[in-house]
């Protein structure tokens, strides 16, 4: 296991009171809703950032608002740290527990409470998966726009925690742009509602603040999300290039020409091979880099937009242009793309970076990424949301080799710093978690971070909520 990222030292006073705490929690929760047998806690020790693991004190799986509130109130009263968990698909360790913390998992609160098509919104419990919303409203011609690749499994509560994006946010925005309201349980158990079915919430934009706060401001238990009418048609088109640089430059020129497709996804050769092996989507294997460009609208609109994109692509020496011929083919193209991370597991372990850079820097950052990873003697596969510069280099390594694991982590840090130095940021959509926590000072000054921490403390003065995450452990305010 890698060890360079530290967690907060477990509080002995909590650990020594474990039996009492569990007995007390069993008064607040039905027996099925509290996991506390040591063996049963092991599967909760990590999320999709599997390099780091910590056993939790116990895991609460509440079924009602009242239970969430009661459990938080208890933890607040007795100073027990809390780590919220959705589906545990975080790639930055956002849901990794710590020994003195109670995990509060929202997986039992997974009902779609209301679909309101007239007001174009849905009210769902936090444990509902992202895709389940689109599935529920799809037959009526609507969808929920943010579509993280893990959308099959990840929950809306987790999406709000990380302000998740996805492939199609180039046109439709990320979670914060599609969120109308939340029901939030504050650290002391108080239940508040922010926003609602109306477009703009009243007062300070606490809703905007909560979105992307990584479970540090409260636990979201319900969300009201915006629904959008599905376009008449959508067509992904594959553009194959000789080199990543050409593909990157093409992306910048498409956007620069004022053309905004719904999605522009990028895959380099290793990524193409990995995804094709799983999805058999018909990606060209004889190219060095691939763009999946999706346009939508009526046939005429798609034709017009595609013609313009093809022309730009030709200027960048596009080698292959492949329009998909059927809905099945389109589904396979997206299945391959969205399964890219998991499919990588077929050939190696990986850690996935998430820096975002300005489009003009895309080609340069791709080149440098390759050099950095090679410098550590490792391989990299790139598959990411090129249209908004959100890069996902997958650094491949062998997790059973501690030396390689350490190198992968070091290479990742270099890449993220590179993204910041190129005018971008550490994380576009996965969140800071523990993974990028210690790099925060590379992006922010002390005053910037102090201000963020002060706002955080306004919600959670004792720093009980997901305490090991986001903010570097040194330089935190005294509690």
């Amino acid at each position: 296991m890698s060890a360079s990222i530290q967690f907060l030292k477990p509080r002995q006073d909590i650990l020594s009171r474990r039996a009492t705490i569990i007995a007390d929690l069993l008064e607040l929760l039905p027996p099925d809703c509290l996991v506390h047998e040591p063996r049963e806690l092991v599967p909760f020790e990590t999320d999709a950032f599997v390099s780091y693991r910590r056993l939790p004190l116990a895991v609460a799986l509440p079924e009602t608002t009242a239970q969430v509130s009661a459990v938080l109130k208890y933890c607040h009263r007795y100073g027990v740290p809390v780590v919220p968990r959705g589906a545990g698909t975080s790639l930055c360790g956002g849901a990794i527990p710590q020994e003195d913390a109670l995990v509060i998992g929202l997986s039992k609160m997974a009902k779609i409470l209301e679909v309101d098509l007239v007001n174009r919104c849905a009210v769902v419990q936090a444990g509902v998966t992202n895709l389940a919303i689109s599935d529920a409203v799809g037959p009526d011609g609507f969808f929920y726009a943010p579509d993280p690749s893990s959308q099959l499994a990840c929950t809306i509560g987790g999406n709000i925690g990380m302000n998740s994006g996805g492939a199609h946010c180039l046109k439709y925005g990320v979670t914060t742009n599609n969120l109308l309201g939340v029901k939030l349980v504050l650290v002391d158990g108080t239940v508040i509602e922010l926003g609602g079915k109306h477009l703009d919430a009243a007062g300070y934009d606490l809703l905007g603040l909560v979105c992307g706060s990584e479970g540090q401001l409260g636990i979201v238990i319900e969300a009201t999300v915006r629904l959008i009418a599905k376009p008449e048609g959508a067509r992904p088109v594959l553009f194959g290039f000789e080199t990543s640089e050409e593909a990157g430059a093409c992306v910048a020129d498409v956007i620069g020409a004022g053309i905004i497709p719904v999605a522009i996804e990028f895959m380099d050769k290793p990524a193409i091979e990995i995804c094709e092996a799983f999805a058999k989507a018909g990606y060209p294997l004889d190219v060095g880099a691939l763009l999946i460009v999706e346009v939508e609208g009526s046939e005429a609109e798609m034709d017009a937009m595609l013609a313009a994109i093809v022309e730009i692509a030709r200027r960048h020496g596009v080698k292959r242009v492949k329009e998909c011929q059927s809905a099945t083919e389109a589904a396979l193209i997206w299945k391959g793309r969205k399964s890219a991370f998991g499919a990588t597991g077929r050939i190696a372990d990986y850690i996935c970076m998430d820096g975002t850079v300005p489009l003009s820097q895309l080609s340069y950052v791709l080149k440098r990424t390759d050099e950095i990873v090679k410098g550590f003697g490792l391989r990299v596969a790139n598959v990411f949301h090129a249209g908004d510069g959100n890069m996902h280099p997958l650094i491949l390594f062998n997790a059973n080799d501690p030396d390689e694991a350490a190198k992968a982590e070091a290479a990742g840090n270099e890449i993220l710093k590179l993204c910041v130095d190129a005018g971008g940021c550490l994380t576009g959509e996965h969140g800071v978690g523990i993974e990028k926590r210690d790099l925060m000072r590379h992006q922010y000054s002390t005053a910037d971070l102090d201000q963020q921490m002060a706002v955080r403390a306004a919600f959670d003065p004792q720093w009980l909520l997901n305490p090991s995450k986001v903010f570097p452990l040194d330089g935190r305010p005294a509690i």
Binding site: C169, G256, A304, V357, Q443
Partner: protein, 402 residues
Amino acid sequence: MTAALIPATESEAADMVRDAGAAGRRLAIAGGGTRSGFAGGQQADAVLRSTGLSGIVTYDPAEMVMTARAGTPVAEVEAALANNNQMLAFEPIDHRALMGTDGEPTIGGVFATNASGPRRLSAGAARDSLLGIRFVNGKGEAIRAGGRVMKNVTGLDLVKLLAGSFGTLGFLTEVTFRVLPRPQAEETIIVSGLDDEAAAQVMALSMALPLDISGAAHLPESVRGRFLAGGLPEGPATVLRLEGLPASVPVRADKLVAALSRLAPLARLGTDDSRRLWREIRDVAPYADGTKRPLWRVSVAPAAGARLVADLRLEAGIDAFYDWQGGLVWMRMEADPEADLVRGMIRRHGGGHATLLRASDASRAVTPTFEPQPAAVAMLSERVRASLDPAGVFFSGQMGEA
């Protein structure tokens, strides 16, 4: 007249805030002052103006991102964008005619008030376009938040928090925002003769079509004549806007017409008239009447707008029109603001909020401008405010008040 502090640099602004803090003076934050009068400010010891911090810092059209100092006139920003066929997607309202103010609206003021127009429905509010900010907090520290890329979850989103905080949390010195290509063509379909409730249904039906409608407003007969100099067809007008490529707009307009033609008489407006109409809707032209008659800006669920107005009409003299598919109600009262009535009725119609945009000084003195928040949210808001401005240097007006 309160004294004005007009810093020329961010560090000068920071000094001024620190000095004010040390001296126990309260500062009201302002830009061009064109949106003033509804967020308070008269009780401050001095006004801290952003107008000295002016100019576009960077603008890269290919990246669709601009950085400008907070005091940069909106006109300057829009001119630069227009030169590159780009625009502020959220169509910020120009409050001058409505509020009876003059001067130059600033880009900082746009974001500080989250001023969003009709395209809010499809392209989001001002806060959705804001990518990064620099500001001075109440301790006189210069803080940077966000960045210049669209996707960014690095740390807490102070950008959203400052957007729409009406100068009560910090003094914006620089804003970085996303811009979009300006649609090359637009067309508006006018559905005539619908009452408010029927209009709400037609707007909902239209928004459910795969046509990418970027504006949906209903202009009842009482206001219809005040748009396009009386040029709209007879009867209440329900207006739906389509924008985009010249090849696509007429096609989508035909489809919309086909979908609605059996419901009511239809008319179509070409690009120029359409642009003018939506600018007038954006700026609430019918109520820019040179009076101080109370004006509410009400935000409710789209389907609730018409019913809310119908119920209020039974108890008070009001005139209203609707934007955002019915979810934004501009409501002018005949006499008193009737705040309790309006706000009580909003709660009965599923919730939302009302901002008293305009009122006589006497009414304003006794009416909270912003929607009073439930106690728990108000307490939280106050703690958040204090975390940015512990000593209360910035005049907090009525934001976050219980």
